[in-house]
């Protein structure tokens, strides 16, 4: 809200540069975003916190300045108005939404342009000048925080009724919009129809124009909750509605009306008529307990009683002191203060936050442990980056075109989640797999001219399982192009480069089973099982899909990290290194090429049992030297017994056994 420095000074007696005022206000919670110098004055743009309805006026800001600088506040005088016997009846049919309503009749005004000083003042704070009557209502609203509305009294039929709109009623508001009304809208109506939307905007019909002779000046207090609701429903926010929403000082309503009335008859002529008022229950602020000892225990400072008392006095609050417990009564404008802690804030705000010392609290340990998911993520991140894969963090929204991608990962009754009110229709779907996000990123990478990438993301995915909304943490990997390269050699991304990452990360605890995903290559896709449960998948993007998306060969893998215990990733039971020699043995096995290699390795494991420390497939050969339809698998075995040196004879015995087993699956050991 823009304020004028000279205008503030009308209400508070200070003699300091505006910068100092701006600084103190900012530190006390009313941030001054800008000081603009104009002619012989300054404009201070105050940003008002949501709870400080009382500061939505020159008077309110001046009150803060008065408290901060301990300078006297000059409240406006109550005008003495000479009234003639003429008025307009009012009826408040919805008192729950309108605790106070006043309507002043003013007779015989001359509507015209405002005097220059008035025009200048309101324009400097950003209000458009319309005519003298309307300008005065805006001027007083800005000054005192009480929204006012002037009707052309001759357009009012019989009396004014504050009531909920009837279904089907319509009104054309001052902005020229025709609006359909519902029962949740509070209207100001006459005998025939609505003439304004309460607290939001007046109607076009009853607008004050150059031909207006008699004015009905409304000053009222509307419920902040319902005003906010109406403003939302109508998608209409005005200076008035904003003030009602944050809450106005209900005890200012009549005074504001009187001050505006006095100005109108002074500047526009006419006679003051009667004021009709509805205010059945006068609002009196309640006193609040304040315990100085507890204040010190919560804030960490010990101001003297007189310092604290002084703060309340400067704010205009009343203080009753009892032993250990005071009763403090705020002014009626300060509806934000209802709890003891609210009073604490007032004290520290005025004394200054800089007066509070800076003290480290002692450590508290072992009560809440850090989330295992967090620790797991950290370990995974460190491991996977050490393998050359780089991290990305993408949006949770995925392009709608990828909505059903990788559908096969989930059971049929699981569905993706969309937001009801997206910013853009094409970004309404929450990802149910990171692969969707990574695919989207791959498209961007290629468009930006980057065909080589090796990326991962660890993040949340979302889906709906029956009626429950599920969030899980996944790991996604996408690889394409060259992974390692130089002018003399290169390693390209492949199914196996991606698989290798997973094997290293998940310590070879995974099983890969061929699987079908419509967007993946039918011959190069697998589900990944951990302890017999599908926890992920891996595959090459289907060439048809790649062509449509203008992508090169892309390899994607995704794992449900939540399914893996933290222990899998941490250091397990440490084994003592063996000092016995390792026996290295290379063997070549020829098997039908349709046989999955896992059948061969499981035989190796079975035959050599615990003497097989580890093994490596170091060559795979198909070609003229072996029969057609077979493949030669060359393994390098590391053999070692835990308790003795393994003999050549023992190994040969096992090799004989291996030969027999291989024969069962149609394979044979190939002699060198």
């Amino acid at each position: 809200m823009k304020t004028l420095y000279s205008w503030l000074k009308d209400f508070v007696d200070i003699d300091v540069p505006p910068e100092e005022v701006a600084y103190k206000l900012t530190m006390a919670g009313l941030e001054i975003e800008e000081i603009e110098e104009i002619e012989d004055d300054y404009i201070l743009d105050v940003s008002i916190p949501a709870n400080r309805g009382d500061c939505q006026s020159i008077l309110g800001v001046a009150r803060e300045i008065s408290a901060l600088f301990n300078a006297p506040l000059k409240l406006p005088d109550e005008p003495r108005l000479k009234e003639v016997e003429e008025g307009i009846d009012i009826e408040v049919a919805s008192p729950e939404l309108c605790p106070r309503y006043t309507l002043r009749f003013i007779k015989g005004v001359k509507v015209g342009p405002s005097p220059d000083w008035l025009k200048k003042r309101i324009e400097s704070v950003g209000i458009r000048s319309i005519n003298n009557v309307v300008d005065i209502t805006n001027y007083v609203m800005w000054m005192l925080g009480q929204p006012l509305h002037a009707f052309d009294a001759d357009k009012i039929s019989e009396k004014v009724i504050v009531r909920r709109a009837y279904p089907g009623e319509k009104i054309t508001t001052l902005d020229g919009e025709s609006r359909n009304l519902t029962e949740e809208i509070l209207v100001i109506a006459d005998k025939r129809h609505p003439i304004g939307i309460a607290g939001v905007m007046g109607g076009e019909d009853s607008e004050v124009s150059l031909f207006t002779k008699n004015v009905a000046l409304e000053s009222a207090c509307f419920d902040h909750i319902s005003t906010r609701g109406m403003s939302k429903v109508l998608e209409l926010r005005t200076e008035a509605s904003v003030r009602f929403e944050k809450g106005i000082d209900i005890n200012m309503t009549k005074l504001a009306s009187d001050i505006a009335t006095e100005m109108i008859v002074k500047l526009c002529g006419g006679e003051v008529g009667k004021i009709s008022e509805f205010y059945p229950v006068e609002y009196k602020p309640c006193s609040i307990r304040f315990r100085p000892e507890r204040f010190s225990k919560r804030i960490g400072i010990n101001p003297s009683y007189s310092e604290m008392r002084d703060v309340f006095f400067r704010l205009g609050f009343k203080v009753e002191e009892h032993i250990n417990e005071w009763r403090v009564t705020p002014i009626s404008a300060r509806r934000d203060i209802s709890l003891e802690e609210d009073l604490y804030e007032e004290v520290v705000r005025i004394i200054g936050y800089d007066k509070i010392p800076s003290i480290l609290h002692e450590r508290i340990t072992g009560v809440v442990s850090t989330s295992p998911a967090w620790e797991k993520r950290k370990i995974l991140r460190r491991k996977i980056t050490s393998l050359g894969c780089s991290e990305v963090i993408t949006s949770s929204f995925v392009p709608v075109q990828f909505d059903k991608y990788f559908r096969e990962f989930y059971a049929d009754d699981i569905s993706s989640i969309s937001v009801i009110n997206p910013l853009r229709e094409e970004e309404s779907v929450l990802r149910w797999l990171l692969s969707q996000s990574l695919l989207s990123l791959a498209i961007n990478n290629v468009r930006w001219g980057y065909n080589d990438f090796n990326l991962f993301e660890i993040g949340k995915i979302f889906f709906k399982d029956g009626e429950s909304f599920m969030e899980k943490e996944h790991l996604g990997i996408v690889q394409s192009g060259r992974i390692i390269y130089s002018w003399d050699k290169e390693v390209n991304a492949s199914f196996f480069s991606t698989k290798g990452l997973l094997e290293k990360l998940f310590k070879h605890e995974l099983t890969f089973v061929p699987a079908y995903y419509s967007v993946l290559h039918p011959g190069r896709t697998a589900n990944i099982l951990y302890r017999g449960k599908v926890t992920g998948f891996i595959g090459e993007l289907h060439p048809d899909v790649a062509r449509i998306l203008k992508l090169p060969r892309i390899y994607i893998a995704e794992m449900d990290v939540d399914e893996f215990p933290l222990e899998l990733f941490s250091v397990g039971q440490v084994k003592e290194p063996s000092r016995l020699p390792k026996l290295k043995r290379d063997i070549a096995i020829v098997v039908p090429e349709t046989l999955p290699s896992v059948e061969v390795t499981s035989i190796l494991e079975e035959v050599f049992k615990d003497t097989l420390e580890d093994y490596e497939l170091f060559d795979l050969y198909k070609g003229p030297n072996i029969p057609e339809g077979t493949v030669n698998l060359a393994f390098s075995l590391n053999l070692r017994a835990k308790d003795r040196t393994l003999t050549q004879e023992e190994v040969e015995e096992k090799i004989e056994l291996l030969k027999n087993k291989l024969a069962d699956i149609g394979g044979r050991l190939r002699e060198w």
Partner: protein, 342 residues
């Protein structure tokens, strides 16, 4: 000198001549075999010695052995020479252009948001905090109601939400974690809760509909605002250096009372005023305050017995400040040229 002696002398000079003229290790090996082999010339001579007169044998034998030793010595020194020469030749052949570029083995890099949170986590862990996490899909209750933000509260205006159903939404702040922790945990505790949040804002350089926050909370008997200041001062000094100044000013949040806003002296202009700090010399880092008594009550904690502080900061913003990045959208865009710099 006997004819035998003469013959030996000739043999010696012939052998030495032959050795000196040799140019390859292979030829040297041939010569070695020729003279020193089991059936070589010298062994043959030693055998033939038996035919010589008995009294001459020792002397002739001595001469033969002497020649043998001499040949061995010559061959060995020749071998060393040839081996050196061959090695030198091989090394020369293996010469490479050391100015050619090396192999491109890229390290896996962490995302800048990760780099920042790891630093933040380390700092707060050192201060006795632990890390907890919450849900990104929250109910209206946890995201607003429980945090003292009823449906009509004006604070909702700045937190326009993405709704999934009329009750479920994407959390607009990490603060719901406060409630979830209090519901489960008896004080004392100190937690930070980093995570993703969502607001229905048009993406601009400063706002992203998907962004990240770090929530913090400590609850114990006798926690004061001074402890909040101490904690945040320690944090700011650890993250931005001990030479930054810090400032607290009053602010408003529905779930803290009193509330404050925490700023550091501008790290770009050292407080003199620049574009980043809007010429104020200060950069706002976070909002904070003492946990509102109503919020403690909602969490099942008696505000007469316990007190606590809480704070919340923009994680992306912290990264923007640390790396002097002007556009928040870079983080989720993941352009390779952006990421490669971290």
């Amino acid at each position: 000198m006997s004819s035998m002696e003469l013959e030996l002398n000739n043999l010696r000079s012939e052998a030495l001549k032959e050795i000196s003229s040799i140019n390859s290790l292979d030829n040297l090996r041939e010569i070695e075999i020729k003279y020193l082999g089991r059936k070589g010339v010298l062994n043959q001579l030693l055998k033939e010695l038996s035919t010589a007169p008995l009294e001459e044998r020792p002397e002739l034998g001595g001469i033969i052995n002497q020649i043998k030793l001499e040949i061995i010595r010559e061959i060995e020194s020749k071998r060393t020479l040839l081996e050196e020469r061959e090695k030198a030749k091989k090394l020369e052949e293996e010469r490479i252009d050391v100015t050619l570029p090396g192999m491109n083995i890229s390290p896996g890099r962490l995302h800048p948001l990760t780099l920042i949170i790891e630093r933040v986590e380390e700092i707060f862990r050192g201060l006795g905090f632990t890390v907890v996490e919450g849900f990104e899909m929250e109910t209206d209750y946890y995201n607003f109601e429980a945090l003292n933000i009823p449906w009509y509260h004006p604070a909702r205006d700045t937190q326009d939400s993405f709704y999934i159903t009329d009750k479920f939404l994407l959390r607009t702040q990490t603060s719901p974690v406060q409630i979830r922790v209090m519901e489960k945990t008896k004080p004392p505790f100190k937690i930070i809760a980093p995570g993703r949040v969502y607001r229905r804002d048009q993406p601009t350089a400063r706002h992203s509909p998907v962004f990240h926050q770090i929530e913090g909370m400590a609850v114990d008997k006798d926690i004061t605002f001074a402890h909040l200041k101490g904690t945040l001062d320690a944090f700011a000094h650890a993250l931005f250096g001990s030479d930054v100044s810090t400032r607290f000013r009053a602010d408003y949040f529905p779930f803290t009372e009193p509330s404050g806003e925490f700023a550091i002296s501008c790290i770009f202009c050292k407080g003199k005023g620049c574009r980043v700090c809007s010429y104020s010399g200060w950069i706002e880092i976070l909002g904070c305050g003492m946990v509102h008594p109503k919020v403690l009550e909602v969490g099942g904690i008696d505000p007469e017995e316990y007190s606590g502080f809480a704070f919340g900061m923009g994680w992306d913003r912290l990264a923007m400040l640390t790396y002097n990045i002007n556009d928040i959208r870079f983080f989720l865009e993941n352009h390779p040229e952006f990421l490669v710099q971290f």
